[in-house]
Symmetry: none
Subunit: 215 residues, 4 copies
DNA sequence: TATGAATGAGCCTTCATTCAT
DNA sequence: GATGAATGAAGGCTCATTCAT
């Protein structure tokens, strides 16, 4: 085997796990874990059923990989983005929330919250990991922005611990929507308009009365 | 068998379907539809597996009944409650939102949104029914309160169609939480405190700037 | 369900495990454990594949039951038979050896030694049970007869512990033969003649020189 | 590549088949044919799984080779050894029986009888070959010694055809033991002591009454 | 009406076999 | 010749569904 061929081959081999988790994610989100057949996962990834087992020990191991390896990169990317905007709490918070949507909610990863909520009780260990490492880190970003705004007197003095959940809920809801009731709507909801209405409400609710209008 | 015994027996017989849907709901919510075994549903309802088929044609028919017969009564009860409070939009909206929590979110029915979201794509017809008849009617209640407040000049002029979703999301999130990540929390979130922070944010966001502080 | 029907039904149900272990034994002996399909076991027992799992948790549990429940009754029967012949060592030993053949070797149980030898390393726990509870008890019978003969001066003073194995080997060999090379023989070996030659050799080897000819 | 290296490499290449059959034999004996994975055979031989198929067409072909090529050389060696001792039947027979143990029973080949008995019905053609070419030739050696002894008046007039089987059984039993119940024994049986007890019994059983004590 | 033994289609998983490198 | 990734047929096991009682 010459070097080039090995390289191509090897590139293929290294890409396999992600090809498989991507295929698995889309089907798990669409149908749920138990209702998804590994045959279909393999077919969507363009390989045979047996190939799956070269990379994952079991269906459950595949699920774990889908969650663990799916979202951590996006999370790290997000954390990197929001480490510098230290001076304007409103802008910082707005960018974090919109950034979540653009980096996760609007992408293929947007189904992970739905999937993880549906399966949390069936996979307590994965749920614990997701709760601590994924949700925990995401919430910390939001909370720091809230605290900064409160300290600066830009935001009202809210309970940041609880408000984080309230703030995230409509975003998660919107992401989940695409994989649940979207097809029931006669005319599709425009995510952009939903986000505008959401941010408008949120910042009117957060900014202190005398502050200038939210942008 | 005397008349009283017959009556009790008959009451029992008529109660069977609901005993079964109740058992099924709790398991469907906990594990998901596909991962729930009819054996377990029957056992939880205290009957044998075969008995299930005297009342429901199939597992899917059971699911349909769980959704259709589970939530419509609560919905009707809710609609009846909120038909009269016509004069104070803020109080009306607050009571609708809190009422949803108390009548649905905090009860055994609180898992239905989670269940229905998870299975919407597997049961498009049930999802359509739920979207139109359950969510549609619930959203209509909220929207009417919003419109009233806007017309009266109590609320800012928001896009009521979109804001309804934003308003409901944190409530649904809280209800779903109990069946997903609640067990991951080191110290449990207090629903009452969450609701207070939520309503505080929402009404600060909705009331016009000059209006008196939300209660 | 009336009493008679229930009885017949119930008789059926109680007989099932043994019907299944009997079918399994014959196939395990014929093909080996790993090469035997549960489909075939079920078919031979006249039931469907799923029925097997009403009575045995797994293929391995079926194997365990085949061994444990197959041979212990025969063993107990054997022990009961040979508890009384205390006065004539030669006759006692002869009857024990022939009795083993008639009660086990020549019956459907005759394949168990072959099966157990083939699978001992795959099922160490079952092997331990078989070694201790089955072989151990069988060898003890033979050894007691040997000792009695030695004490009485009928048998030469041999190492009874080791000779037990030597004595049993040709019997086990004959039983195993039926499930291995029997079909390779152009003309079938006559078990009766084999046993006669075996006993003739054994008693000529055991009896003290001066003793009268073995019968 | 210099001549020496080529030679070593080539020696290696020619040794491959035997390295593979040796690895396969040990695993087949330990676990049985069906329960042995070719992955493990290849790993034990230090090659990759694909390499196996350069030398054997299928798993069954490997089994055939294990039996055919494994034991025939030992058999030929044995036949060569015992062609000359024509004058002393007792010594001849004793050396044949002990020779079988040392050449086959005590070596890696000792598991073949166990393996072949277990798989005879699954591989009728190999069984036929083994029965005719291996067992047949071995038995013939023993039978000739028996006949010689009977003709000379050293041995009693036994049915040599049947007694051959009786004589071989304890040896095969001892060889099989190592691969079955050996690990169940609290204290291991000493093969040498077993063989002594066995030969003592056998020759006391065979020699005519008046003959001098067996050695 | 109620039961629970029986069924068999279907899925996860394994592993002998192939083949591109 | 040697490798090991890929294949897919086959088998253990589950569970929704049926039906005799």
């Amino acid at each position: 085997m010459n070097a080039e061929a090995r390289a191509r081959f090897s590139r293929r081999k290294e890409a396999r796990p992600q090809e498989l988790t991507t295929a698995a994610l889309s089907l798990f989100v669409e149908r749920g874990f138990a209702a998804t057949k590994l045959d279909d996962v393999a077919a969507r990834a363009g390989v045979s059923k047996g190939t799956l087992y070269l990379y994952f020990d079991s269906k459950e191991a595949l699920f774990t990989a889908v969650i663990r390896e799916g979202i951590v990169p996006a999370l790290e990317q997000g954390e990197a983005l929001f480490q510098c905007h230290g001076d304007d709490p409103e802008r910082l918070l707005r960018e974090i929330l919109l950034g979540w949507w653009e980096l996760i909610g609007a992408t293929d990863l947007g189904g992970i919250p739905k999937l993880m909520m549906a399966e949390a009780q069936n996979f307590p260990e994965v749920a614990k990991f997701y709760f601590d490492e994924v949700m925990g880190r995401g919430r910390e970003l939001v909370r720091r922005a809230l605290r900064l705004g409160i300290e600066r007197g830009t935001f009202r003095s809210v309970n940041d611990e609880l408000i984080v959940n309230v703030l995230m809920a409509p975003l998660i809801h919107l992401a989940t929507w695409r994989y649940s009731f979207a097809c029931c709507e006669p005319k599709r909801m425009d995510p952009r308009a939903y986000l505008d209405a959401y941010l408008d409400l949120v910042f009117h609710g957060l900014l202190v009365a005398g502050a200038k209008e939210p942008r």
